[in-house]
C-alpha cells in the first residue's frame, strides 16, 4: 500500500508518498513540498498569526490533494517545533482539523530527536558504534546520543535557524552587535545541555542531519546534491569557523549566490551557522558526517517496522 507522510516542519511542509512494506527503505515514490517558514511567522507573543494559519491550511489542502493523486491510502501527519511552541497551538491545530480534517500529531522535542537518531542509525548502521546526532531545524536544535536504535539521551533546544533569525537578526546584512548577542545566547543554551551528554564518553561518529548542515558542508567543499545520496560528505570545524564571519558579513541575496544555498533559506544561514559552530565547539567535535536522512525518514522507518511481515 502507498502511505503518505505529511510533515509540517518549521520551514517546510512536505508530503512524501512511500510504498510501504516491512523492511522497505524509507525513500519516497513521490515528494511534494512547499516552503512556509512557519518559524519566521511567529508574532511578538509567539503565536502564528491568521495569515500564517491561512497559508498552512492552504498548503495542507494542496498536499492532501497530491496524496490522493498519488494514490495514498493513508496519510500520517505530524508537526514539529514551530507549531509545538506557538502560543496559539490549540487554535492552529483546531483550524487545521476543522478546515482540512487532518489531525496533526505534534511531536515533542525529545521524540523529534529520537526519531532523527533512528534515521541516522539506520543510515550508518551498527558498525558506526556510538553516535552523536545533531539536527538544526527551522524551529529547534535536536541532539541525541546512543549505542542502540533508541538513543540514551535526546534533547531539543529552541535554537532553530528560522526561529533565531526572526527573533535575533532583523538586519540584512545582520548587525554585528546582534550577531554577537545571538552567538552568546546560542552558546549559553547549548552549554547547559553539554553536561547531560558528557557522562557517556566520546562518540565513535558525529552525524549531522538537516538542510542547514548540508548547505554548510556544501560551502566547505562537499559534493553537490546532484551527485546523489551515497557520496560521503563532511564538515570540519575549521572550515566552518572560516565561513561564519564571511556569511555574517553578506546580505541574504549574496548568500543565495553561494553554491548549494537556496534563496528560501539564505536568510537563515547565519543563525544556522552560529548554532552549528556553537554545537561543534562546545561538544568538542572536529568533524561531522552528513546524513541525508532525518526526522521524516525516522518516522517512516518506525511506521514500516510496525507493518506486518508479508510472506
Amino acid at each position: 500500500m502507498r502511505l503518505g507522510v505529511l510533515d509540517v516542519g518549521s520551514n517546510t511542509v512536505h508530503l512524501l508518498a512511500v510504498d510501504a512494506h516491512r523492511g522497505a527503505r524509507p525513500l519516497p515514490a513521490h515528494s511534494h513540498k512547499a516552503e512556509l517558514r512557519l518559524a519566521e511567522l511567529l508574532d511578538t507573543d509567539g503565536a502564528i498569526g491568521p495569515e500564517g494559519v491561512d497559508r498552512l491550511v492552504a498548503t495542507i489542502t494542496d498536499a492532501l490533494q497530491a496524496a490522493e493523486d498519488k494514490g495514498c491510502e493513508d496519510v500520517l501527519s505530524f508537526a514539529t517545533s514551530a507549531v509545538r511552541e506557538a502560543t496559539n497551538v490549540e487554535q492552529v491545530l483546531g483550524r487545521v482539523k476543522s478546515e482540512t480534517g487532518v489531525d496533526l500529531e505534534v511531536l515533542t522535542g525529545e521524540e523529534e530527536a529520537r526519531l532523527t537518531f533512528l534515521a541516522a542509525r539506520r543510515w550508518f548502521g551498527w558498525s558506526a558504534g556510538k553516535l552523536l546526532v545533531l539536527d538544526i531545524g527551522g524551529g529547534s536544535l535536536e541532539i541525541a546520543y546512543g549505542l542502540d536504535e533508541e538513543p540514551d539521551a535526546a534533547v531539543s533546544l529552541p535554537l532553530g535557524a528560522g526561529r533565531l533569525t526572526a527573533a535575533w537578526l532583523p538586519g540584512d546584512p545582520p548587525d554585528p552587535v546582534d550577531v554577537k548577542a545571538l552567538r552568546r545566547h546560542v552558546r549559553a543554551q547549548i552549554a547547559r545541555t553539554v553536561g547531560e551528554f558528557a557522562r557517556f564518553g566520546a562518540p565513535d561518529h558525529v552525524v549531522a542531519t538537516s538542510k542547514t548542515f548540508r548547505q554548510l558542508a556544501r560551502l566547505a567543499g562537499a559534493a553537490r546534491s546532484a551527485d546523489g545520496l551515497y557520496v560521503q560528505r563532511e564538515l570540519s570545524r575549521t572550515s566552518l569557523e572560516e565561513w561564519v564571519p564571511k556569511l555574517a558579513a553578506m546580505t541574504a541575496a549574496q548568500r543565495a549566490g553561494l553554491p548549494g544555498v537556496s534563496e528560501d533559506r539564505s536568510p537563515q544561514l547565519v543563525a544556522g551557522a552560529l548554532v552549528a559552530e556553537g554545537a561543534m565547539d562546545l561538544f568538542g567535535i572536529e568533524v561531522v558526517e552528513i546524513c541525508p536522512w532525518a526526522l521524516r525518514e525516522g518516522i517512516i522507518l518506525r511506521r514500516l517496522d510496525q507493518l506486518p511481515t508479508t510472506t
Binding site: T44, G46, Q91, L93, G94, W168, A181
Partner: protein, 318 residues
C-alpha cells in the same frame, strides 16, 4: 472573629511551562501554595500517576486537581478515546486524593463524544466522589471571523452539568461577563481557574490583577458564599526571561489570591498581614513586587494590586 479562608490555593503545573511538572511541585512548595493541579500533557511525568505520587510525597504538596488531557496537543495522551481519558483522569484523582477533574467541552468534530457528553459526564460523576468540573471555553476569533470549536457550547452554563470550572482568562477571551457566568453556575461552581485577560483573541492567562477581569470580586464572592472547591492559579509564564521572573509572577499571583479570598468588609489588618507576610516570605526574587503587594495588603485596597504591568516581560532580545 477573623475568618481564615479554608479555600486552598493551588498552582497549575501548566503555569511553569516550559519548565516541567516536577519543577511545578518544587515551586509550589517553595512559594507556599497549598497544592498543585496537574495538567496532563506531553511531559511524561504528568501522565505517570506513580511519579506524581512520589513528587507529591517528596515535596509534601498535595495534588488537589487533575486537568484531563483534552487539548488538541494532547490528543494521543493516555488514549485517543475521550472517555478513556476521563476514566484515567478519575483513577488518577482517586489515587492521588484530588477533589476535581477538569474537563473541557468536546471539540465540535468529535461528533459521538459531543452527543454523549452531558449524559456521560453525569454518569461518570455518579460513580465517584471526584468532581467532573466542566470548564467554560470561548469562541475562537481571527480577523473578523469566529469559529465555534466547542460543542455543545463554549458557554458551559447553557448545558446541564453537576459541576463547573470557571476560568477568568477564558471569560476575557470570550468577552463575556464573568460575574454573570458565576451567577448562572451558582452552587454548581466546583472549581476555579484564576487568571486574567484583556479580551484579546488570544487566551492570555495573565497574572490576576493585570487584566480586566473581576478577579478580586470573584475571590470575595467565593469567600462570602462558603465556596467549597479550590482556586487554581493557571497563568502563562512562558515569556519570563528567567526563573526568578517566573517565580516572582507566581508569588504575586498567590499573594493576590490570598489577599482577596476573604469576605468583603471582613478584611481586618490581621488577615491582610497574613497575605502580606506570605507575599514577602515567598518572594525573594522581586523586591518591587513584594513591596507593592505589601502596600496593597496594608491598605486593604484592591486597586493597588494593579501595580505590575506585563510590559516588563517583553521578550525581544537586546
Amino acid at each position: 472573629m477573623v475568618r481564615v479562608p479554608e479555600t486552598k490555593v493551588a498552582l497549575s503545573t501548566a503555569s511553569v511551562y516550559p519548565e516541567s511538572t516536577a519543577t511545578a511541585f518544587e515551586i509550589a512548595a517553595r512559594l507556599g501554595y497549598d497544592g498543585v493541579e496537574i495538567m496532563v500533557w506531553t511531559d511524561p511525568v504528568s501522565q505517570d500517576i506513580e511519579a506524581l505520587r512520589r513528587l507529591s510525597d517528596y515535596h509534601q504538596v498535595p495534588v488537589l486537581a487533575i486537568h484531563a488531557p483534552c487539548l488538541l496537543i494532547t490528543q494521543r495522551v493516555w488514549s485517543t478515546d475521550p472517555w478513556v481519558k476521563l476514566q484515567r483522569a478519575r483513577a488518577a484523582a482517586e489515587r492521588l486524593g484530588s477533589a476535581a477533574v477538569v474537563v473541557h467541552p468536546p471539540f465540535r468534530w468529535q461528533r459521538q463524544y459531543v452527543r454523549d457528553f452531558v449524559t456521560g459526564i453525569w454518569r461518570m460523576a455518579g460513580e465517584t466522589d471526584v468532581r467532573f468540573a466542566v470548564e467554560n471555553m470561548y469562541p475562537w476569533r481571527y480577523r473578523d471571523r469566529e469559529m465555534l470549536a466547542y460543542a455543545p457550547d463554549w458557554d458551559v452554563t447553557k448545558d446541564d452539568y453537576r459541576h463547573f470550572t470557571v476560568d477568568l482568562s477564558h471569560t476575557a477571551t470570550a468577552r463575556t461577563d464573568a460575574m454573570a457566568m458565576i451567577d448562572r453556575m451558582g452552587d454548581r461552581l466546583g472549581h476555579v481557574h484564576l487568571a486574567d485577560g484583556k479580551g484579546s483573541a488570544k487566551d492570555e492567562h495573565l497574572v490576576p490583577g493585570r487584566g480586566t477581569q473581576p478577579c478580586a470580586e470573584l475571590l470575595e464572592r467565593l469567600a462570602a458564599n462558603a465556596y467549597d472547591g479550590h482556586v487554581v492559579i493557571e497563568v502563562n509564564t512562558r515569556r519570563a526571561m528567567s526563573a526568578a521572573e517566573r517565580e516572582a509572577d507566581l508569588a504575586e499571583a498567590l499573594a493576590f489570591t490570598r489577599l482577596h479570598l476573604v469576605r468583603p468588609g471582613t478584611r481586618p489588618a490581621a488577615a491582610s498581614k497574613t497575605a502580606a507576610s506570605k507575599a514577602q516570605a515567598s518572594e525573594p526574587a522581586s523586591e518591587g513586587a513584594s513591596a507593592s503587594e505589601g502596600a496593597a495588603a496594608a491598605g486593604g485596597s484592591s486597586a493597588a494590586c494593579e501595580s505590575r504591568t506585563p510590559g516588563a516581560s517583553g521578550a525581544h532580545p537586546s
